[in-house]
């Protein structure tokens, strides 16, 4: 009997314990020694995975004013520096996730086929707990993409996970602006039931997807011409000119035509990948990355020739028809074809273990350790145009890095501390130390009047444990059908 009782108690405590993790996220300020954040940090005696300059054993890394100031042996720091002895531990650059929907209060604007006027920047939630979990997985940079409901979707935002800070501080300074495109089943809405009385959105076929993109760029070209003519007329001092309408839908597409905005295109099948390359060639722009690109191995040569990058999954497939012809060797084959390849998460859950996704490419395809690590560091940084700031450990780069207790390509490795711009945004010891306090706070809050349950109220919400991620854009298709 007693056993049963204690087991019950444990069962009751379990969700509580899980909640503690959730709770932590809401007091990020108190987790970090904000005022006492030293301007110098010296990490000593670590194995340093620089990514671009090999691996250094028993080496030090000096962080000053948010940048990597020195890497080498026997480094010295000022007397006020924070010194971390990382003997037996590994330091690697912060992981860059090239496909994320974390911290977005809305992911898809699915009402139209072309939604280049919408901006993920308008829907950021800096308090999203997933961000904290991602920091705990050594991730520091995210490419926040619009969903895949439309052939041409909304504008992206590249962020550093400065959890607990005002949202402006998240924005990655100088990152190239981008836009989401999507091909295949999602934009043609094939996995959505036809609702009685509701007209289905165009396009409904792959042909239609192609037509929508071609039409949009034709309009964008005309729009650009209208403005060019207006500006020329103004320059000639013509008077009484009514300026053309500013069109927020077409402006980003003009930027694509001018090479000022990266295209990140969700795709699966080889034929649609070739289709988009043809359209890009026709209008004279470049695809920066193909996202998911599960059949990329079939057209790796063509992707490489176009100069596009590829951002894929290690072994996630079969969740719909167009995702059946995938192989785990995809990343390796595309890498060997000369493509800059990255592994992305497209999931708040997978984002916590992108190091393992990278490791799988060693098992399937025989990538070297360094090539595998590049899949989640310098390669996605190149794909986002931020390789001069992050993605490797080099003097002068941003001090975005994580200390791991084991080799990050091992399933047993765990992040100890995550730095962004030289500041600690996750620390496992501080996290553990904080939990008792949070439990106490919860107990107090539950006693407060507005939190006490009424004598009669709604029926019991059943315990469900942690809710799984639902932002994988292939499962989570939008705000509305």
């Amino acid at each position: 009997m007693r056993l049963t009782k204690s087991r019950k108690a444990t069962a009751r405590l379990l969700p509580l314990a899980m909640l503690v993790g959730v709770c932590l996220s809401f007091v990020p300020q108190s987790l970090r020694a904000q005022s006492g954040e030293p301007s110098e940090t010296l990490i000593r005696n670590a194995t340093i995975l620089t990514i671009t300059h090999g691996t250094l054993e028993n080496a030090d890394i000096l962080i000053r004013k948010g940048k990597i100031a020195a890497i080498g042996k026997g480094l010295k720091a000022g007397s006020n520096a924070r010194v971390i002895d990382a003997a037996g531990k590994f330091v690697m650059p912060g992981i860059v996730d090239c496909h994320s929907h974390s911290m977005l209060d809305a992911i898809n604007e699915g009402a139209l086929a072309v939604t280049s006027m919408v901006r993920t920047r308008d829907a950021l939630n800096p308090n999203d707990v997933d961000l904290y979990r991602e920091l705990a997985g050594g991730v520091t940079t995210l490419n926040l993409l619009h969903g895949s409901a439309n052939p041409i979707g909304g504008l992206n935002t590249v962020v550093k996970i400065k959890y607990g800070r005002p949202v402006e501080e998240f924005i990655f300074p100088g990152a190239m602006p981008g836009i989401k495109f999507a091909l295949g089943e999602n934009p043609k809405r094939s996995n959505f039931p036809a609702l009685p009385g509701v007209t289905r959105r165009y396009p409904g076929t792959r042909m239609g997807v192609e037509e929508v993109i071609r039409d949009a760029f034709t309009r964008a070209r005309d729009y650009k011409r209208t403005w060019d003519e207006y500006r020329a007329a103004v320059a000639k001092r013509e008077r009484d000119l009514i300026p053309p309408k500013r069109d927020l839908q077409l402006e980003p597409l003009v930027e694509v035509l001018e090479g000022k905005r990266y295209v990140h295109a969700h795709c699966y099948r080889a034929d649609e990948i070739l289709m988009l390359i043809n359209i890009a060639d026709e209008f004279g722009f470049k695809i920066r990355t193909f996202q998911h690109v599960l059949e990329g191995y079939k057209v790796a040569k063509e992707i490489a020739r176009h100069g596009a990058g590829a951002s894929t999954f290690a072994d996630f497939w079969g969740y719909k028809i167009e995702a059946y012809d995938a192989i785990p060797y995809n990343a390796a084959i595309m890498t060997r074809a000369g493509i800059v390849v990255s592994m992305n998460s497209d999931s708040d859950e997978r984002a916590r273990r992108l190091n393992i996704e990278a490791a799988k490419a060693m098992r399937y395809g025989n990538l070297t350790e360094e090539e595998a690590l590049k899949l989640v560091t310098i390669n996605p940084a190149i794909q986002l145009g931020i390789q001069n700031r992050v993605g490797s450990l080099e003097v002068g780069k941003d001090a975005d890095l994580a200390i791991w207790n084991g080799h990050p390509l091992s399933v047993y490795a765990r992040v100890e501390t995550t730095f962004i711009d030289g500041e600690v945004f996750f620390d496992r010891q501080q996290d553990l130390a904080k939990r008792a306090e949070l439990l106490k706070e919860r107990a107090q809050l539950e006693q407060a009047e507005p939190n006490r349950p009424p004598a009669r109220g709604a029926s019991p919400p059943s315990p469900r444990g942690r809710r799984p991620s639902q932002t994988d854009d292939d499962l989570w298709e939008g705000d509305r059908p």
Partner: protein
């Protein structure tokens, strides 16, 4: 009182007819006798010191004298105010009072068709004809044009001591323009104190059509403001020299945005959470709009920004509280929610301390008598009583640009008075008299647990049928005005609702990430609430459409001790 009044009136008419013959119109005679004096009362003027024992004289709808020693006109009806306290009439700064239920709301555009769902979502008649914009995106809609005098809601509100309210159309993104109304009068014209007062903006997506997400809402707001800027420019150029120019097409929607762009008309933006307020203020900065935040639950976290940008807050007194019963097996509530509920009554005090101007709104409280008890909680939460009174009176008047005629007891101001037995924020006090535009109002005894009307708030046990037997879930909804939040627990997981919307006729829609056979996927619910019943359709990607139905149990009896 009306009977007495009528008898008195008859007497005066008789008297007057002797003096000036019976040719004077009845209306003029009536207003000539609308003189009242409240004597021996404590008077809280708000604009000046409290008068411990004095009188207020009102005539022709205006305050004509106030002070410790005042000459009482011979023709005044005298109310002995011993034991009473006179306050300026209280102002509710964000309501839909006086507006008919089927009013402009977001609704599908185009795509006519039959079927169950289409019937549910059929758009209400747009109130402006020939608009260039879809319903929900029509800034030209004026509350003024829709107001109907009388009605239960107005009666119960003024019985709670509210004399004046800002009333705005319901629903939508460009919601339309509000009017400040006195809660008495036989015609809309008699009620209106000022119109239009402000442009109202909501951030909930339309139920159908574009924009269908928060992302699209911002893009749409931005595009229309840009279009309005160009419209203004095009009109200017054309008016200067029309010859040789194709005339710009007139556009009432864009025209309505010009005062907003010029900063002549403030924009009331509905935002509660910190990030929602930030986004609203970012948009205001981008287009140099004069922003007012309505709701403002998290505004205490942004006092610096609000104060620097001189943004006022219409703070909701619809304080959150737990509505679900205690069940040991249930998931603990998120810490964030627990914190928000405890922080809510402290917001006003923090705004006052940071010198952010704010006024109170009832925030869709279904039981209006909770307004004063919630105000008392806010005072316990750290707001000085004086500041609480200002937030009900002069601050509201200042925010709406009517401080020269409302919001305090001063000679020459509109005679809106709330007269209490006891002190305003004491839980034992009662409303004794209410004067609106100088006329006494017949008070209705408060009805505890008043009918929730079309409110969706409450716990709804639902049965969801997805083709494999019925699944039991509990939907917990909280409605604030036309905004809706909520969560769902039960056989489909334990989740927060997204994109929840409520239409004027009870059309409800929301999405929720549900867990089915171990897979989490997005379900879209749309249906209709009729009284305490709810039913509708569920759509999940890759499944055939399902249905849901449920009945809300009667509300728990109000506990007297809170």
């Amino acid at each position: 009182m009306p009977r007495v009044q009528r008898r008195f009136l008859a007497a005066s008419v008789a008297l007057l007819s002797v003096v000036s013959s019976a040719l004077v119109p009845v209306e003029a005679q009536r207003s000539g006798t609308d003189t009242y004096a409240i004597t021996n009362a404590r008077i809280v003027t708000v604009s000046g010191p409290v008068i411990d024992r004095g009188a207020v004289v009102i005539r022709d709808g205006l305050i004509v004298a106030v002070g410790a020693t005042v000459n009482i006109p011979a023709d005044a009806r005298v109310i002995d105010g011993s034991g009473l306290t006179v306050y300026p009439g209280l102002i509710d700064t964000n309501t839909n009072l006086g507006l008919p239920e089927p009013s402009p709301t977001p609704a599908p555009v185009g795509g006519q068709g039959g079927g169950f769902l289409a019937a549910l979502l059929r758009p209400p008649t747009p109130s402006t004809s020939n608009s260039t914009q879809a319903v929900g995106l029509q800034p030209e809609i004026l509350a003024e044009d829709l107001i109907k005098p009388g009605g239960d809601l107005i009666e119960s509100e003024r019985s709670a001591g509210i004399t004046t309210a800002l009333t705005a159309p319901r629903g939508g993104i460009w919601i339309g323009q509000s009017a400040l109304i006195n809660l008495a009068g036989d015609t809309p014209q008699q009620m209106i104190v000022r119109s239009p007062v402000a442009m109202h903006v909501g951030f909930a997506p339309l139920r159908s059509g574009y924009p269908g997400s928060l992302l699209g809402v911002f893009a749409t707001l931005r595009q229309m403001l840009l279009d309005a800027q160009r419209y203004r420019e095009a009109q200017r150029i054309y008016e200067q020299s029309p010859r040789g120019l194709r005339r710009p097409a007139p556009d009432r929607s864009l025209e309505a945005l010009l005062p907003v762009l010029d900063g002549r008309m403030p924009v009331v933006m509905y935002a509660d959470r910190e990030r929602e307020i930030q986004r609203a203020l970012d948009l205001a900065d981008e287009f140099k709009l004069k922003a007012i935040i309505a709701g403002g639950a998290d505004s205490w976290q942004l006092t610096d920004r609000l104060q620097k940008a001189n943004v006022s807050v219409l703070l909701s007194l619809n304080l959150p509280k737990r509505t679900t019963a205690a069940i040991p097996e249930a998931d603990p509530e998120p810490l964030r929610v627990l914190r928000e509920r405890v922080a809510a009554p402290k917001t006003a005090g923090k705004l006052a301390a940071a010198k952010v101007r704010f006024a109170f709104q009832s925030g869709g409280l279904t039981t209006i008598s909770d307004l004063m008890s919630n105000a008392a909680k806010v005072i316990e939460g750290g707001l000085a009583k004086d500041d609480a009174l200002r937030a009900f009176t002069i601050s509201a008047a200042e925010i709406f640009g009517v401080a020269d005629r409302l919001g305090s007891i001063e000679t020459g101001k509109i005679a809106d008075l709330t007269i209490m037995r006891g002190e305003l924020f004491d839980r034992s006090s009662r409303v004794a008299h209410v004067f609106i535009d100088g006329r006494p109002i017949e008070l209705r005894p408060p009805t505890p647990g008043a009918q929730p009307g079309n409110s969706a708030s409450g716990a709804w046990p639902l049965m969801v049928d997805l083709g494999q037997g019925e699944l039991a879930v509990t939907l917990t909804l909280q409605q604030e005005g036309d905004r809706l939040r909520g969560s769902m627990q039960g056989a489909l997981g334990s989740v927060d609702l997204a994109n929840a919307t409520l239409g004027p006729a009870g059309e409800i829609g929301f999405t929720a990430p549900v867990t089915l056979e171990g897979q989490t996927t997005e379900a879209s619910f749309s249906g209709k609430i009729t009284g305490d019943e709810m039913k509708g359709a569920v759509n999940i990607t890759g499944r055939s459409p399902g249905s849901f139905t449920g009945k809300r149990p009667p509300p728990a009896p109000m506990s007297s001790e809170r």
